[in-house]
Amino acid sequence: MSLLSILFAVLFYAATLVLVVGVARKIRIYARTPAPLRIPTTPAPITASGVGWRMAREVVFFESLFKASKWTWIFGWSFHFGLLLVLLRHLRYFQEPVWLPVMWIQPLGTYAGFLMVFGLAGLWARRFLVDRVRYISTPSDHLMLALLLVIGASGLLMRFVVHPDIVAVKQFTLGLLTLNWQALPALPLLLLHLALVALLMLVFPISKLLHAPGLFFSPSRNQADDARETRHVAAWAAALDKKP
């Protein structure tokens, strides 16, 4: 066991802890903050199941973004859908035996990496080419795209060009899960890939990546249009009724 392997093991435990605790804390804040008034963007569904369907369309198809800008939608959806397939494919590193659906996804998942990188490249290009988007881009916006792009590109390189010993990699990841630490192959590209993934996990709860949980708590999307039928008085607002 090299020092490097130990370092990466510790890094991943820390990153997982920060990700889970950080996002859980944010979700707790979102859930506990009252929404004192009904503000769904209308026309809005009038039933809970209707809201579920609206949310599903947002989460799966990015419906509002599709309305807004076809280019951003193509790049954004390609990236997210590619990322989803890539993540599902990576589940195989945490399973023995590998689940059947993960096996099925394997061939798709390897090429989804290209879809993901294509989407990221398009999104980044907009930050330079569209003057409005250039104006609103902060250094962290660029860095976030760079981070994801390098993660994607290094992954593709390892899949198609520089092959690490993936059996050993899998032993390392399974070892993390079973608390039976194993050596990590010291391929620089692999170390870069993993280090940046850990960094992504670390910044998730303190960055704009919070849009992922945020969407589910967005009142303009997750509220039913039922204000005439149902009162929605928050605790702090109810206190006003008690004042003389």
Binding site: T41, T42, S64, K67, A68, S69, V130, V133, I136
Partner: protein, 498 residues
Amino acid sequence: MATAAFETPKIKPYPVIPLVQVGATSHLKPFVANAAIQKAVGFPQELVPDWQAKAIEKMGELLGKYRSLQVYMDSCVHCGACSDKCHYFLGTGDPKNMPVARQDLMRKVYRRYFTWAGKHFPKLVGAVDLTREVLDDWYSYFHQCSECRRCSVFCPYGIDTAEVTMAAREIMAVVGKGQKYANEIIGKVHRIGNNLGIPGPALENTLEGLEEDVKEETGLDIKFPLDVKGAEVLLITPSADFFSEPHVESLIGYAKVFHAAGISWTLSSHASEAGNFGLFIGNYEQMRTISLRVKEAALELGVKRIVVGECGHAWRVAYSFWNTLIGPFDYLDPRYPVPQHICELTDDLIQRGALRFDKEKNDDRIITFHDSCNVARASRMGNMPGGQFVIPRRIITSVANHFHDMAPETIHESTFCCGGGGGLLTDDLLELRVKGALPRMEALKHVVDDHSVNFMATICAICKAQFTKVLPKYGFDMGMVGGVHQLVSKAIRLGDHR
């Protein structure tokens, strides 16, 4: 100066997204409320000495009170989906009028004081201290948002800049930098009962005058009742309906509908205003107190139903918030929605065959319909989503023969604000109002050219006042704008009830 000369934008043959022009409208800001105005609504009379600390404290309070603000501050990814959606950006090119950039004026302060990344790496994430310059920027650009919610339609997370603008205005009000126009009007509502400041006797006079005018026109005794106990319907309508053109034409239309349907109704001198500027300044307490007048009037007069006249933001407050703010309405007739929009009432009567029209009386008009932002994106009519688009159009096509919609990307949920909503209908912001009307004017120009449209109907007092002012700047006749019930009024078949 806020009222300096400016050029009206040129209407282009097709809409063009302008290139970013930094600082194009940084000179625009409404007059600041003076000490007397601030005092009347319970805000500090001038910028308080420790305004920075107070503002941050208030921001923290609002983040804890409104899930919308908390989620919206965190969730934006700067994707730019909203960047070409705001009518003020499209009309001015000022990048701070892009919804994302407007939100960022607050978000960068939020990051600095409320997030780990902003506290430790401000430059990296674009976090800044709340300095005097930032506050001035807030005052300028949070008064260049009409809270119309168009951006929220297109945001992949539904981020609604209106919520951010309201929070910013609330913060500015409590540190002593309130807006003159909105706060003065709120003071008037409390003191006199309506936004225009019409005292009870003057209102009574006006209504009597209207009865005489309508008698002359129709030969019938059509009443405009005030403070009638035991009436079936309490009508809450914007006070502009009493005095302004073309608003008053719609008020006459409501009266004729009530008359023709044989529904007893009354106005209230206590609640002689549907408008609720508490919404514009984002102040829950003000919004609630202003709304309470309606409840008091309804109880005092013993009415069975509450109906709201043609007014956009008032309908948002009434439809979306009244039940929560001043409900439950268990003292009213449960067979009718509370509140009910006048268009819902009229449409229902039409559908049941209770009203008859001579449609050809509107034949001189080729009509289009401007969806008002607060009705379109913040409320509903009828019992199905989107009823707010169907019902007014169904009324128009029931009372007139010629109707053409404007381009699909400029109506329904994608409708453009008139340019004067959200507490900006003041002459110190005239340049902004004219420029912000550009997208609507372009869409209107198309139906004028293609279909010879000569009348734009709408159901909002602010839209009517705003268009009356800006239509001439774009070469249109100011008389082109009017209410839906103005059309109803013209065509409705009256006749005495048996």
